[in-house]
Symmetry: C2
């Protein structure tokens, strides 16, 4: 089998399912692949029809992956035009072959693909996993770290974990960010004005009346608000809250 129009566009690894047993699992695999931007599926001697209604339904709208999938007679054939392949296994094999963490496998695949080479991720049949002869066709093994007491992963879930690592390896996203939409972080001046207003009202209301405790209490209150990484809008809201709370108190007092 040849894959149409593949030579021009090979910006992602192919996913090779060796002897998948259930059409439904091929469908959910297609969905997991598309979630992760993977669209090239190759099936080695699938037991059921990957274009069946069951497979299509299970793919939840990722049917394009199934429609474009290639069917091969052997793992060798499915890998023939690839330059680098990793084989996913759940258990250690009695083979001397490098074992990668999924994130390291994704990095390795991305590096190959960036060099214009074709990469493949190979998955074995449900239950039994890849045979050793299939694993031997790969450059490296990738093992998904999982609960050793319960590591049986559904086929589509194994594909999802690898696909997720693949997608992640191509995304430059900070570990943590604070999106502020139309807002922006408050300036230190805006905070300073707010702190002075707040502390004046707390003085007036009697909250800060114990003189020797006042400096420490003021610091603690300032730290609390500093920690919140307030926006300019939120500082305005706080101003309004303090104003209305004080006005209410003053009204009560009069």
């Amino acid at each position: 089998m040849t894959i149409e129009n593949e030579a021009a566009d090979f910006a992602e690894p192919v996913v090779v399912l060796v002897r998948p047993q259930l059409a439904e699992n091929v469908g959910t695999t297609a969905r997991a692949m598309l979630n992760c931007g993977l669209k090239r599926l190759r099936l080695v001697v699938p037991r059921e029809d990957h274009l069946s209604d069951k497979a299509m339904a299970a793919s939840s709208g990722a049917s394009i992956v199934l429609e474009r999938a290639g069917v091969f007679n052997s793992t060798e054939e499915a890998l023939a035009d690839c330059h680098f392949a990793v084989a996913t296994t759940a258990r250690r094999r009695d083979m001397v072959k490098p074992v990668l963490r999924p994130d390291a496998a994704a990095e390795a695949l991305r590096q190959k693909v960036n060099e214009g080479l074709r990469g493949a991720i190979i998955f074995g049949p449900e239950r039994t996993g890849l045979e050793n002869d299939d694993v031997a066709l790969a450059d490296k093994i990738v093992e998904i770290p999982l609960n050793p007491d319960y590591s049986s992963l559904n086929l589509a879930q194994a594909v999802l974990v690898m696909g997720y690592e693949w997608f992640k390896s191509g995304v430059d996203r900070p570990a943590e960010e604070l999106p502020m939409r139309e807002s922006r972080p408050a300036t230190k001046h805006e905070l300073q004005v707010f702190f002075e207003k707040l502390e004046k009202e707390l003085d007036d209301s009697g909250f800060l009346r114990v003189k020797e405790k006042r400096p420490r209490m003021v610091r603690n209150i300032r730290n609390m608000f500093e920690r919140a990484e307030l926006t300019d809008q939120e500082v305005r809201t706080l101003h309004g809250m303090i104003r209305d709370l004080s006005t209410y108190r003053k009204g009560q007092q009069s």
Copy 2:
């Protein structure tokens, strides 16, 4: 509701499913959780019975997670005894709340748990996701990076990605390793003896006959074998291969 025996053992975050719609998804979630060593499931107003046959079948042997799951009337109630919670969302919310990468969320949860605090990962209903009022109960948001053109992730798959990151954050595994079982890396002396044997046979057979090319060819051959990170056993195998190939050739010549 109170959870039995929880206080003593809280070495992992709880998974909170808010208003899950399908028992099957609760079952596959239980399976994904157990894959990742997560056993504490809390359900907020589930539409279907999480102990139904359908849920149990979908859990594929992870029924203990379903049996021990707690059911709550509100997200507030499910989170009441937790100290730190992250809310998973597929889309950006109009809220000023820190957004974590899944790996950073796992690290944050592990740090809290290591401090003896209780962590929670909150997932919304299928299709609609968490409501903003639920998200507001969390300390931080976690976004799973996925194909923006097709990011609808099955509930159990979202749980799997977060669980996988959780499990990974507790495992100290090298990015790449080369397991050798009973074998060990060949020593440089063993390689040297093999290279000398090989080069002698290649000289005798005529392969290295072009004198000015010999040094470079020898280096290239040595590099090829050095790159393979050979074991002592493999070097013995190579010795045997060379011996038999040479004997055959010598037999042919005689």
